[in-house]
Amino acid sequence: MDLNYSPEEAAFRDEVRGWLKDNLPEDLRRKTAAGDHLDKDDLLRWHRILAKKGWVAPAWPEEWGGPGWNVTQRYIFEEECGLAGTPPIVAFGVTMCAQVLLKFGSPEQKKRHLPAIYNGDVFWVQGYSEPGSGSDLASLKTRADRRGDKYVVNGQKIWTTLGQYGDWIFCLVRTDFESKIRQEGISFLLIDMKTPGITVRPLILMDGGHEVNEVFFDNVEVPVENLVHEEGKGWTVAKYLLGHERLNTGRIGGSKRELVRLKAFAAEQTDGHGRRLIDDPRFRDKLTRVEVELMALEITNLRFLDAMRGGKPPGADVSMLKIRGTEIQQALTELMMQAAGPMAAPFKPTGPQDAGDFDDVLAHLAPRYANYRKTSIYAGSNEIQRNIIAKATLGL
């Protein structure tokens, strides 16, 4: 056992770090660090820079443009992106839709969609949750009725992240209303969002930001060739996606960067009597406990990668990364806000159009704290993750 990186791995890390330093545009770095809203152009600009380098789809097979990295290299890349503060590679296309197509897509679907995803020509979003189907996703009601060579889709999706930018949306829809097992009546459809009958309505969150939406489908006609896998097999696809590509669920790199920022920030805050916040034992202890949890989570994450390298598929244990990873992210945003003290109160909605006369960083802390409450709710709430571990790992 040796918990140090090998010389080859260290060299790879240096290469990634050096390239990111030279190629991450300063305005994007600053925007990401400040927690500013990144718009479609920002996201796609970074996407295309990575695509040009050949690094935009680390997990893809080489024949479709993947760099041929092993899991450790992919982890190092993710971590370095987090540390450098790059914009995210939006997961819905590269990570989610593409993985589904690679596994279940027809040759025509792959040829049509994968290059467009890779090059950042199409912005994909996800249509899973519905107003009545959150944690209980299999109860979804959006229906797709077959009419000749088309499906006619009616219903509503919710929490569609970045739906306002979506060119295409992949959806779980109900195609069989008779089946006794609810999961068996669900299908996976790709839908062009320019199709008549689709309405996107913003949901503004409590931080003032517009990142999620409702999407309404009113007699939307979708060619049957946009069905992925077989009709009624959508749940299989969704489950595959859930177990796949959650290497970065813990967001270790981003949290490490945030921790460094928090320490520096807490060292600057004084109480007017000469005591720095970071030297206040009550604050300091909370900070250290988060740091320790993060150290442990990094090793836990690496243990999973090690097991995967040995051929073990990522199991339900990965849910643990989601639980602890999001708890850490939330604790960090909370401590950052707390560190700002009374200066945390002034509100500056996220978005590039605002230029307040108070400090940018301070004004972002409370909205960010509020925004990060989402992390323990989205992508399967942490309670659902506990259910998964209880059932699949512990056999309860």
Binding site: Y5, E9, V292, M295, E298
Partner: protein, 379 residues
């Protein structure tokens, strides 16, 4: 980055695990715990034969020159089986001699530790110092060729079974000075040594050791006069890393047995493990132990590879914070989920509870290590 154990490490893990599973079941342990000495010569001998007592010592001392990673799996098994033999006490005291002692001290004392004929203890803790390693008010005064020791050492683990002790005493300075602490080898039966043995809450044996004008020869001094603190810190950090692995073994048992109980105990016509309120608590225990396990890997790996004392101390404190928190959580929850049965003497989980409770405080509790971690960060 590699989590695989080597062939030798795996073999030790297998053989210790198998031996303890076969010969150190709960009933056998009960007999040992209730015997007069509270320890077993036969078990000690066997642990020595399996290599547990040779791996951590240098080749010059007759050992294999291994590190914490080499000991890790054996310590987990020791934790799982709740072994009460003074392994940690002996390794800790032996390490002081191995690291700081003269060649003749090493060669005279340690081979008998390695072959299982001698147990050691480190007499250091005193009243009023809590976990601070620089708090030593026992004194050693020069007398002719040798030294005269006076003082009172408290809760010295393994002292009832040890025939030699490494004793810290102040050769200069005042009680909380970093400089002026020295180490001496003292025979347990030396004139002026009074040992008051007792059983700890976790059934480990310890003693208060009174030093009343104890005369030792000049060659009893271990290492440089007045400069023992760094040696002590290193050895205690090493022992803490080993104890983190022991804790993970004990927590693993607590989780396994609690999970089994959830699956078999029925109330309201169903196994209580079907209740979500309990499932989620069990999951939290599971996640905490995996996180603690990660920290035990990290700390064992780093105490072996750290190139300076600050780097080592920082990771040891980080690990102990996580381990101490997890020990509290897992021990408390395992009793709660067992209900009344968990409270009883006859359930092993209640003994695991007691051991985990003590591990959480030995070598410094979470608060102590939070303090040390912050101080190291600021330095």
């Amino acid at each position: 980055m590699d989590f695989e154990l080597s062939e030798e490490q795996r073999q030790l893990a297998d053989s210790v695990g198998r031996y303890l599973a076969d010969h150190y079941d709960f009933e056998s342990r009960k007999k040992i715990v209730h015997s007069d000495s509270g320890a077993s010569d036969a078990v000690w001998k066997q642990l020595a034969e399996l290599g547990v007592l040779s791996i951590p010592f240098s080749e010059a001392a007759g050992g294999f020159g291994g590190g914490a990673v080499d000991m890790m799996s054996a310590m987990q098994s020791i934790g799982q089986a709740l072994v009460v033999e003074p392994v940690l006490a002996t390794v800790l005291a032996g390490r002081l001699i191995d690291r700081a002692g003269s060649a003749s001290q090493r060669e005279e004392i340690l081979p008998q530790v390695v072959d299982g004929t001698r147990r050691l203890a480190f007499a250091h803790t005193e009243d009023g110092g809590r976990y601070r390693l620089d708090h030593v008010s026992a004194t050693a005064a020069k007398a002719g060729d040798g030294w005269v020791l006076n003082g009172l050492k408290r809760v010295v683990l393994g002292a009832p079974q040890a025939d030699l002790m490494v004793v810290s005493a102040r050769t200069s300075g005042s009680p909380d000075d970093a400089h002026g602490i020295s180490l001496f080898i003292v025979a347990a039966n030396a004139k002026g040594v009074t040992t008051t043995p007792y059983r700890n809450i976790d059934n480990q044996r310890a003693a208060d050791v009174k030093l009343d004008g104890v005369q030792v020869r000049a060659d009893a001094l271990v290492g440089a006069e007045g400069g023992a603190l760094a040696t002590i810190e290193e050895a205690v950090d090493f022992a803490t890393a080993l104890q983190c692995a022991e804790a993970v073994g004990a927590m693993q048992f607590a989780n396994d047995t609690t999970l089994e109980y959830l699956k078999t105990r029925k109330q309201f016509g169903a196994p209580i493990g079907t209740f979500q309120a309990l499932q989620h608590r069990m999951v939290e225990m599971f996640v905490s132990v995996e996180q603690a396990r990660s920290m035990s890997y990290l700390v064992c790996s780093r105490v072996d590879s750290a190139t300076d004392a600050t780097e080592r101390a920082r990771i040891v404190s980080a690990a102990k914070i996580k381990i101490a928190d997890a020990c509290r959580q897992v021990s408390q929850e395992s009793i709660q989920l067992h209900g009344g049965m968990g409270m009883t003497e006859e359930m092993k989980v209640s003994h695991t509870f007691r051991r985990l409770t003590m591990i959480a405080q030995q070598f410094g509790d979470a608060d102590h290590h939070l303090d040390r971690f912050a101080a190291l960060d600021a330095a």
